[in-house]
Every structure is written in structure tokens, then in C-alpha cells.
Symmetry: C2
Subunit: 372 residues, 2 copies
């Protein structure tokens, strides 16, 4: 018999928002709207698609492991030297390399319960010790996290806005937190929802902290540029940290089409503007209907919000009745918030459909509770 480490046996397979295909197979539905995975409802940047179609003939070649052209482009766009930039196959991959490069067996990695599950999965699969502080008012308890720092703590992970609650940490609070973190502890600051959050004047922009030697900032092209299926994210940090990450990365990532897509998408400024317009309109519709129905939800700075129910049973019932009606939302038991259900903004058409379904399901559940 093979010897398999105990922490590997205990890993729980990742469960994402249900793919549209899967629901269609299971229920035979024709009209399905998915607002479960914080995807960009406009689809991918059209300029990215043209670049992909133009580049397919070279797919038999391995990608340049130095990502020369991509780094040049990112360097110009973000006004940073190329040696402070690390592109890889999405934030999940980047987190995996961060855990591998900056911690060893026995080290403690610190974060919050109720945050991005990609963090926890990658900590667990390398057998590191995960220390999680409970959420406070659905946001990070930064003082609680500071109190848990020990001499074994190597990395702290903060997603701002937090996923799945959408709550924002403000600039003053985050500055004060960073000032109290010891210099030998790495802070991973995940700005996956930067496009949406930076509409808020109080949002602490990660790139303003790169003078600190212990900060890595994460961004992604999955959401704002509509390229989730291609897998590409970027980390920014001081050159020594980035050098270590580059040495642990797989040799040929991001894949060739992902690199071409990002090169083109970064020029597509109009697409980002349209993305924000549609998001803002949809989120306004969602929140005003939730208010009207008297549903509880978090005041999110991101492209999603979290609905809160009295208990896990009602949350599951709501989630499952939405599925029956062709609306895919995200149940949050695996995030540690079993009474929460996450919904992201959509096109106006998708939002109208979603709110019709939600109103019906909400009414049905409320009536059933009154009868009981």
C-alpha cells in the first residue's frame, strides 16, 4: 500500500459554482442564468477574442517561459519594473506558489474564516498549519489576526473586498494593520475585485504598498476582463519576492492564448468602463429589490453580495429552489457561512430574470414559514 500523507487524505475536493451545462443536464432546463462565480456578464473582452483567433496557429510551440511580451506590457501599464511583476495561471496558482515559496512544513499561515476558499485549499494541500480568526461583522477582524501572530507565522492572507461577503477594509484601518505586522511576516493582499472596489475613495490600493518588502499584491484578469476560462492572474511585489515566485512557477504559464488575450485586453479600456456601468446598474437593481422584499444582505464593495438567511436549512432551501427555476447562485457552506448565499451582478436581462425567480422563491419560503 502506498503511503499517503494524512493532510492529503483529508483534503476536500473543490466545489465551484455549478456550471450551466451541468444544471442543464440535470434538470433539462432551457433558460439558465448563472450568477454564482462572480464572472463578467458581458463575456470576454472582444479585443482579447480577436487576439486569440489570430494566435492559434502557433499553439504547437511552448510559450516563452520568460513571458517577455506580457511583462513588457504589464510593466508599461502598471508603471512598475518587470522584475516586480509575476504572471501565472490565475490567483489560485499564484497562492499555491506563494505558500510553496515562503513557508515550510510546520509553519503557521494566518487568515480569516469566511474568506476565499482558494487560500485554504492551497495551504492545506501543502500540509501547512492554517490559523483562522472568525469574521467580525462579516469582515476581517484585523486586531484578532494581529493577536494570533506567533514566531511560527509566515504569511497572512487578506482579500479586500472579502470574498464572499464583499466587505471593504478602509485605508486608515489597513495602513494601521500593515504597520503592526512584523517585517518577517508576508502579507498577501488579494485585490481580485479591484475594478469594482476602487470606485470607493476609501479603498486602499495595493500598488501603493509596494515600497514594503513584505507585501505581495494579487490581481486577476478573470473578472474585470472576462477571461476566467483562460486562467491568468498577476502578483506584484519587491523584486526578491517576485524572483522566488518565478523560480517556483511552472515553466510555461500563463498558457500562450492567455498571454495573447491579456496583451490585447489591456488596451480595451472601453470594455472596463462598460463592465462597471452594467455592474453598477445591476447591483442597484438587486439591492433595491432585496430592500423591498426585506431580505438581509451585506453592503458589498465588489461585483457580488451575500444574502443572509435565518439558518442553514432556509439558505439551502432558497439556493435549491433557485436552481429548480434556472438561477444558479453560490451556497456558502464550504466558505464556512452556511446561512449565506452569494449572488453576483449580471446583465440587465439576467438581473431581471434573477429577481423574478428570487421574488417567487422568497415568497414561497416566507409563506411556508408562516404556515408552520
Amino acid at each position: 500500500m502506498m503511503v499517503i500523507p494524512e493532510y492529503i487524505k483529508k483534503l476536500v475536493p473543490y466545489k465551484s459554482g455549478k456550471p450551466i451545462d451541468e444544471l442543464a443536464r440535470e434538470k433539462g432546463l432551457t433558460r439558465i442564468v448563472k450568477l454564482a462565480s462572480n464572472e463578467n456578464p458581458l463575456g470576454p473582452s472582444p479585443m482579447a477574442l480577436e487576439a486569440i483567433k489570430a494566435g492559434v496557429n502557433d499553439l504547437h510551440r511552448y510559450t516563452d517561459p520568460g513571458c517577455f511580451q506580457l511583462l513588457q506590457k504589464l510593466s508599461t501599464a502598471y508603471k512598475l519594473p518587470a522584475d516586480q511583476i509575476f504572471p501565472a495561471s490565475g490567483s489560485d496558482a499564484i497562492i499555491q506558489y506563494i505558500v510553496a515559496a515562503f513557508s515550510e512544513a510546520g509553519d503557521e499561515l494566518l487568515s480569516s474564516a469566511g474568506t476565499f476558499i482558494g487560500w485554504g485549499v492551497n495551504v492545506a494541500k501543502l500540509g501547512r498549519k492554517m490559523v483562522n480568526v472568525p469574521l467580525m461583522n462579516y469582515n476581517y477582524d484585523l486586531d484578532g489576526i494581529l493577536n494570533k501572530i506567533t514566531e511560527k507565522t509566515r504569511i497572512i492572507y487578506i482579500a479586500n473586498p472579502n470574498n464572499p461577503t464583499g466587505m471593504l477594509i478602509g485605508k486608515t484601518e489597513f495602513d494601521s494593520f500593515l504597520n503592526k505586522v512584523p517585517e518577517n511576516v508576508l502579507v498577501v493582499y488579494d485585490e481580485a475585485y479591484h475594478l469594482y472596489a476602487s470606485q470607493n475613495a476609501n479603498y486602499p490600493d495595493g500598488l501603493s504598498y509596494l515600497n514594503r518588502e513584505n507585501v505581495l499584491v494579487l490581481r486577476t484578469f478573470s473578472k474585470s476582463y472576462g477571461l476566467a476560462g483562460l486562467r491568468v492572474g498577476v502578483a506584484f511585489g519587491n523584486a526578491e519576492l517576485i524572483q522566488m515566485l518565478t523560480k517556483t512557477r511552472l515553466p510555461f504559464e500563463p498558457n500562450q492564448l492567455a498571454q495573447l488575450a491579456v496583451l490585447a485586453a489591456m488596451d480595451d479600456i472601453g470594455f472596463l468602463q462598460k463592465t462597471l456601468e452594467v455592474h453598477n446598474a445591476s447591483m442597484k437593481m438587486l439591492c433595491s429589490k432585496f430592500d423591498e422584499l426585506g431580505m438581509l444582505y451585506t453592503h458589498s464593495a465588489s461585483n457580488f453580495t451575500m444574502l443572509l438567511f435565518a439558518n442553514e436549512e432556509i439558505a439551502n432551501q432558497f439556493h435549491s429552489m433557485c436552481l429548480d427555476n434556472g438561477l444558479i447562485l453560490r451556497g456558502l457552506a464550504s466558505f464556512g457561512i452556511p446561512n449565506g448565499v452569494r449572488i453576483n451582478s449580471g446583465t440587465i436581462e439576467e438581473t431581471v430574470f434573477a429577481l423574478e425567480v428570487i421574488s417567487r422563491v422568497h415568497k414561497s419560503i416566507t409563506e411556508k414559514q408562516l404556515i408552520q
Copy 2:
């Protein structure tokens, strides 16, 4: 100052075959032929390209983490249950997950010097102890490897044919080796060049060993299907091993276009036949010219062969003079064979060009040696 593990600091960045773009930038050359990375000279499967173009509009969606359609297709094609199949972002990624899932800090991982560097890189970056047995006649010394097994040995890696030497381990020899490996040691059997090697009747087909609980077989779509730039490889093994790998994989891999490309490419049988025809013709041209010139090379069962020079200096000179003339080959110092240079088969046109350059460079080096 951040605490960075010593084994991370020591990692050497991966150096691939020089990309065509890079050589063009450096030397201002217009005609460049790359036979350095064992790529398919025919380009990607045309059926795969059509599938990619048809699938780009959904790139804003995350890929199905269960790889439902891809697994169905692979299951039918390889006549194996889906739970014995593990697709991921290329063999490099698969090796990374194997090391993470089936070994811990302090364990010994066993292989050969002068084999695929993707193995060594992934062992080193997770801080495992690498034990390498020297090559014997440019092939694995299987008895030497068996002799190095200790109670700390967890995994043995064998690439057949070996990369970069191209040497084949025959069926009888491999069977006898597997019979002597303890049941609690995992054998990773890398068949990246299966298409080419299986023309040899004596080639031990990996899928015939899946009744063993300690064997994982690796295949790739990078070479035979011309999809290196998209990143997709597959591991086969017993269901328990595959389950552990699935739990350690990143949630959304292979990327969406890679999955669509493979779904289509697997129906493109004509492409594989043409690939073999061109390869066989090119390899015949290469070997007969090398014989004519009196150059030493390995008798490879793969889509590449290794040229051998008197010493590292001459190998470097040869490699660098080929570059100056627009021919990219692969120097093998990083593989631990500093007097070797690897060349893969190309189209007939590429092969003619390559042999012209090689003849000229060989003549020039030989004359210089005579004068000295």
C-alpha cells in the same frame, strides 16, 4: 526580512529551448528554424483550432472543475473508467501534484541523472530529497535505481523513452524492474513520447500496467497533438491515486480552450498519422546525414535525438554557431549532459535547412580543431 526556505533560494530558474521571437530580437534574423523543444512541426491539429475558435465566446466562465466532458471523451478513447483519469495543465503540473500528494518533507524521491528536468524542478521546489542514479549508456540504470531504494523512498520517476537521450527501456527489462519495486513506492511512468515510441514492438505500453496499485502513467497532448502552448497532460492510475491528485489540482484546469482543443483533437486520427510520417522521414534524413558527417548521436525511439561532442566547449560552440545561423537546438547542460545537444524532427523543409546549417557548422568546427 522575510524568512525564505534554503531550498527555495537554491532553485535555478527553468531555461527552455530559446523562443523564435527571442532569437529574432537578438540577432535580427529572418529565417529561423526551431528544433529545440520536441514540438510537432506540423502545427496544432486543425480540428483543435476550429474547436477553439468556436469556444472563445464562453471564456468569461470558469471551466467545469469536474472536467465532465473531457473525462467522458478520454474514458471512451482509452477504455478506462473516468475515475482512473486525471487531466491537468501539462505533465509539469501533474508531476508537481504527484510530488505534493504522495510525499512529505524528508522523503526521498528517486530517479536518474540526465532525465527530464521537469521532474527535478518539482521535487526541489517542494523541498523533497532528490536521489539520482547516473545514466548507464545514456539510459536508466534500473538496477542502480533499485539499489538506492530505502525506507524513505516514496516515488521513482522513469521517462520512457528518456528525455533528452531518447533511449528506450524494453518490455522485459521494465517488467522485471516493476516486479522488484516495493508496493509502497510509487512508479511514475512518463510516456510523453508514446506516439513515436510505440512504433517499436518492444515498447512497454503504460496502460497495460494499471492493474498495479503503485503505477501512474503520464501522457501529454503537447507533442503528438501539437498543443504545447495550451498546456494539457493526462495521468492514468488506480482510482485512489487519481482521487488524491484530483484533490490537489487547481480548481479550473486544464483551461477551457485546452479542454475544447483536446475534445476535438482526439478525433483527428489523420493528424497523428501525418505526424508520424513526417517524423519518420525527418529522423531518417537527420540520422543518415549525421552518419555521413561522422557525428555521434543516440539511437532514439522518440521525436528527437541527442548529438554527442568530445566535450562541453565544443558542444557549446556547435550550439551557439547553429543559433547564429538561425537554427535553434537545445543545449543540455541543465539536463546534466554538458557535451550533448538535442535536436527534434521537423518538416522536410526545416530538416533540409537544419542539415545545411549543421553541415556548415560541423565543417567549420572540425577544420578549426585540425588547425589547432
